[in-house]
Symmetry: D2
Subunit: 181 residues, 4 copies
């Protein structure tokens, strides 16, 4: 099994996508662009009659995510957090919890995760709450949070000149290669 | 001018709504339930030809928000952050920045803001990244971040038995009343 | 067994002390003022020959702490963190880990803890890293982190007019009284 | 003018020291090892008669710090924060504020700062509160917080095998060299 990259940008080929692609190049990858799928906000049925959940792309997307061993969330930093696309997708995990909690958590528990957040307003400082949020998410699901990259970029392509981000990418790739052997 | 409450729950009459209503009772209020409006994810046109933004409810909602002096964001804590509805709405502020940055920021600069986040998994600790995210948002917009309430609740109505949350509500109401005189 | 209050201020009768005393009034308490004890910085002997640890008041103070069930850390917020007195005391826990790790952790594991941090520069926002630091500390020691109060005060006595802090104090006292019965 | 490195470890030649030395090698540096100086905890005289401050090494150390343009705080992560030696030194800045606020802040305002924190318990996640604390400190003093390195190490020398930390070091050195020309 391989890597699922969950792209949270509304724009194709932006900086978070470019860095994520550099990260996973040559590995077995399923590229999941949330902007190409229709995923509605969560309905909170915890305390009401169970109405039907939206008939949209959530189930097919989460199945692709759960089919891989490693998860990479690649999101632009919008307003000091993950993109709304990313957050709306994760909110829907509550539906999976409600429909099949034990199986859902059992699948996430075995996985490893990385987060890439790219922004232009001091991302290494102001992207910290985003990382802490993912820290709590993975703590809850039992997923191993292996690392993150907070990169600085504004114009398309900027990120490929961020030596710090590229060094982080290379370090993760070395670990992944070692795990193959 | 009065208070705009921006409700981020997908469920009516949940705990975050109940606490916010207790907070603003008797004041001049515009109640804005995001779940009753259609707001699409932001399109990122910063580095491309400017295509039309979605023709949805964003403009009418943001105008109602900007028409008031005080902003109260009332959101359930979903996955250790603001709800996707809330985040998607705030992401769209980038559209306002692009369409009319100076005027948009000038309006937000004069306002005061409060955040209510209600969750059931140690909200006073694990709701902290949510607060820090809003801290950076208001720092950017120049809005005065006056306070927040992280309350604990699970079943509907729980929050009205959280003495700590109620005391916080009362303290804010006292300040608002004093400001009236 | 009762409550150990660990006062971290260098000044007697300051705001953090006043609020902590209000919190524990009427309960069985051991008041520990770090400023009245001599505690040296930790020596890091993890990777060297074990030299003698400082012959100071650390052992007697930590024994008083470990003798109680509930711990209240009451510190002024100095430079956005716990006071140096408080931090230096906690650093010395590494000595206890080295001398008798299992017994030390077993004792801390059974306890509950609260943190009071009082400052004058937006403590509810800028005191957050202090709380997160204690969160990790108690996670490591297995101590149950029950709650915290970030109060605003500058001049002596200010804190007793902070309704929010007083409401928090009262809520904790109610829980403690219930636990007595 | 050059670089002041403020070493916060109680141990010489530990991982934080080794990484900091790699960082500044070849530049004009004043190496300040706090463990070799005697610095007492701050006395809080804000609300009492001004008694004499401790007659210790604080003044000579802070003068060496203020004489340089760039500050590097190199501290082991003890209990998820800066070492007590580091914190106690920074607490004493309150003395400088009291003795000569305008001059003290004017000097810090012109400087740039970096923080190195080395620990062995998930430093990239659990070292975050330490970084946020420094963020607020430098925001207050007007010092430009240019970057940080959270490195993982346990045994002496480990840090020199942390490719991520070494890449960060190299990136900073490149910037410093460019500034020379």
């Amino acid at each position: 099994m391989g890597i699922a990259v969950i792209y949270g940008s509304s724009r194709r080929n932006g900086n978070s996508e470019q860095l994520a692609k550099r990260l996973v190049e040559g590995f077995e990858v399923d590229h999941i662009h949330l902007t190409e799928h229709h995923i509605e906000p969560i309905k909170d049925y915890r305390h009401s009659e169970k109405e039907p959940y939206p008939d949209d792309d959530y189930r097919s997307v989460i199945e692709r995510v759960l089919a891989q061993d490693r998860l990479v969330f690649a999101t632009p930093i919008y307003w000091y957090g993950a993109s709304g696309l990313t957050k709306t997708f994760i909110d829907r995990w509550s539906q999976s919890l409600r429909e099949n909690k034990d199986e859902f958590l059992a699948k996430l528990r075995g996985k490893s995760a990385w987060v890439i957040g790219i922004g232009d307003d001091e991302p290494q400082l102001k992207g910290i709450p985003l990382i802490q949020q993912f820290q709590y998410i993975f703590e809850y699901t039992g997923t191993s949070f292996e690392g993150y990259i907070l990169g600085k970029a504004n114009r398309p392509g900027d990120i490929l000149e961020d030596k710090f981000a590229l060094a982080s990418v290379e370090e993760i790739r070395v670990k992944w290669r070692e795990a193959l052997n």
